[in-house]
Amino acid sequence: MFGPLGYSLAPYIRSSRTLTNWITPIANWYANAMGYRKYGFKYDDLLIEENDQVQRALNRLTPREQYDRAFRLKRASQASVLHAPLAKEEWTPASEDVRYLAPHVKDILKEEQERKLWDNTVVERK
């Protein structure tokens, strides 16, 4: 599974200081090279949203976050129509490119996992 919720080496890399120092510049270069920041997106805006889990996660955003997300999507659509990236001052700075949605999606996946566990639990008398 690939994509923002797929398997990731990031936790392993972050756990080692040497690896972090090596990889961080490459990761920053790659994030900029992907080009989504030039269209004013955040990384979590690229999350595939056509499934129940992410739809529920979107409902858990604060009204402000929901509004900002809709705004970014519209602005990027307009930029796409014009076949040009946004003006440089509208690009997403690295500091604002935070995972605002992924934690909610992970919570929901964990809840579903727990529900499955309780649905199939076997009780043993001690």
Partner: protein
């Protein structure tokens, strides 16, 4: 014969020690009663009733947040695991206390005490749980209360009688702006050791206190919440009713705790017959057809509300029944016959004693006393009723009538005004 006598002697002993003593473990008050029932109940009582809420409806929202996710287990985990144990979890809100209750089979206490106390120590109060679970419950509760004229009348009567404090409604406003932050901050001020008491039935006192001690070891220390002393005001208001019977509530408030005289007065005025198919001998037993009068006596820690709830299918019937109720109250203030007083005291004593028979009644009786450390036995409640004299009885009734009445109607515009009933 002998066996019967022996068992009745045992019952007397039981009554004598039927109210528990309060033990204090690490700042939390614990009381337990054990009659060898097959099931156990543990009630965690928090001084977080609507009286203490900083904003309308926050206490109710906190009540509906009970048993949602904590650091130890999620909301789903709490429900499923409790189901496996076969326990029942309830949370109830009063004007003084928030009560979290678990009822379960003997021996499952460690798990259920943990469920109750983990809400006090490590509730998460997440925003999505508030919006997905709590907000619909708040709306449903407000809606249900709005459709019950008796609940509405008594709720509004509290507001008229005590204004702030005890006057704040048990139900959240229909369109409220409560946020999770409000609930969280109310919980953090309310969930301190001095504010918490634990009542157990069907469980050994030392077992319960050791469990509580372990579970609440790292609860934040703090003294009990104090609210400004209640003051009685009174007043009159008229609400339009959506459904249900025409309702009028004639109330009187007093400051000071519960009194035996008022309990006897409520028993004297109660038209509930002692025998089936009879109308009873109460002064209110001959009411017009289709109407009812119910005495309401609600004692709180520093005030009480006494009232008569008059209901009927037509406003004319309510007017007539209301007039009868007021004149019965006035007659009681003039004086009472010795045998009538005896009957009233007997009725009140039976009500108090049979309430202590049930689990809810026992928890209620203990909860009113546990925070003030003055746990009285059932004996003292009964002997206080025995000591009610005819003069004290009529004096209590007349001092009620001297204050400004609290009068609420819910229903038609034709329902009587307070002065039309002779108040």
């Amino acid at each position: 014969m002998l066996a019967a006598r022996a068992s009745s002697a045992r019952n007397v002993q039981r009554i004598a020690r039927s109210f528990a003593t309060v033990v204090e473990t690490t700042g939390v008050k614990v009381a337990a009663v054990d009659y060898n029932q097959p099931t156990t109940s543990v009630t965690v009582l928090v001084k977080a009733g609507s009286r203490f809420e900083p904003k309308d409806g926050v206490a109710n929202a906190l009540k509906n947040f009970a048993f949602k996710s904590t650091k130890t287990r999620s909301a789903l985990g709490t429900v499923r695991e409790s189901e496996l144990y076969g326990g029942v979890l309830t949370s109830t809100l009063g004007r003084e206390h928030l009560a979290l209750t678990a009822e379960f089979l003997r021996g499952d206490a460690p798990y259920f005490v943990d469920v109750l106390t983990s809400f006090l120590t490590s509730a998460k109060f997440t925003r999505h749980e508030f919006e997905e679970y709590v907000v619909p419950l708040l709306a449903a509760e407000t809606e249900a209360a709005a459709h019950d004229p008796a609940t509405r009348a008594i709720d509004v009567a509290h507001t008229l009688a005590f204004r702030s404090g005890l006057g704040s409604s048990l139900f959240p406003p229909l369109h409220s702006d409560i946020t999770v932050g409000d609930i969280k901050s109310f919980a953090s001020t309310a969930f301190t050791k001095g504010n918490i008491a634990v009542i157990g039935t069907g469980i050994d006192s030392s077992t319960l206190s050791s469990l509580v001690e372990k579970a609440l070891a790292n609860a934040s220390a703090g003294s009990a919440a104090s609210a400004p002393a209640s003051k009685y005001f009174g007043g009159e208001t008229r609400l339009e009713g959506h459904a249900g019977p025409q309702t009028a509530f004639i109330g009187f408030g007093t400051t000071g705790g519960s009194s035996a005289e008022l309990a006897a007065l409520a028993a004297h005025l109660s038209p509930a017959p002692s025998v089936k198919w009879s109308k009873g001998l109460s002064p209110l037993s001959s009411l017009p057809e289709g109407t009812s009068v119910q005495p309401v006596y609600l004692p709180y820690s520093d005030a009480s509300l006494f009232g008569l709830l008059v209901q009927g299918s037509t406003s004319a019937g309510v007017t007539e029944a209301g007039k009868a109720a007021v004149s019965a109250l006035k007659a009681a203030a003039q004086g009472i016959k010795e045998e009538e007083l005896k009957a009233a005291v007997g009725k009140a004593k039976f009500a108090a004693a049979s309430a202590a028979d049930t689990r809810d009644g026992l928890v209620n009786a203990l909860s009113s006393k546990i925070f003030s450390d003055s746990v009285t036995s059932l004996e003292s409640t009964l002997s206080a009723l025995d000591n009610v004299s005819a003069s004290a009885f009529s004096k209590a009734a007349s001092s009620l009538l001297n204050a400004k009445p609290t009068y609420v109607t819910v229903g038609d515009s034709k329902l009587p005004f307070a002065d039309e009933l002779g108040l």
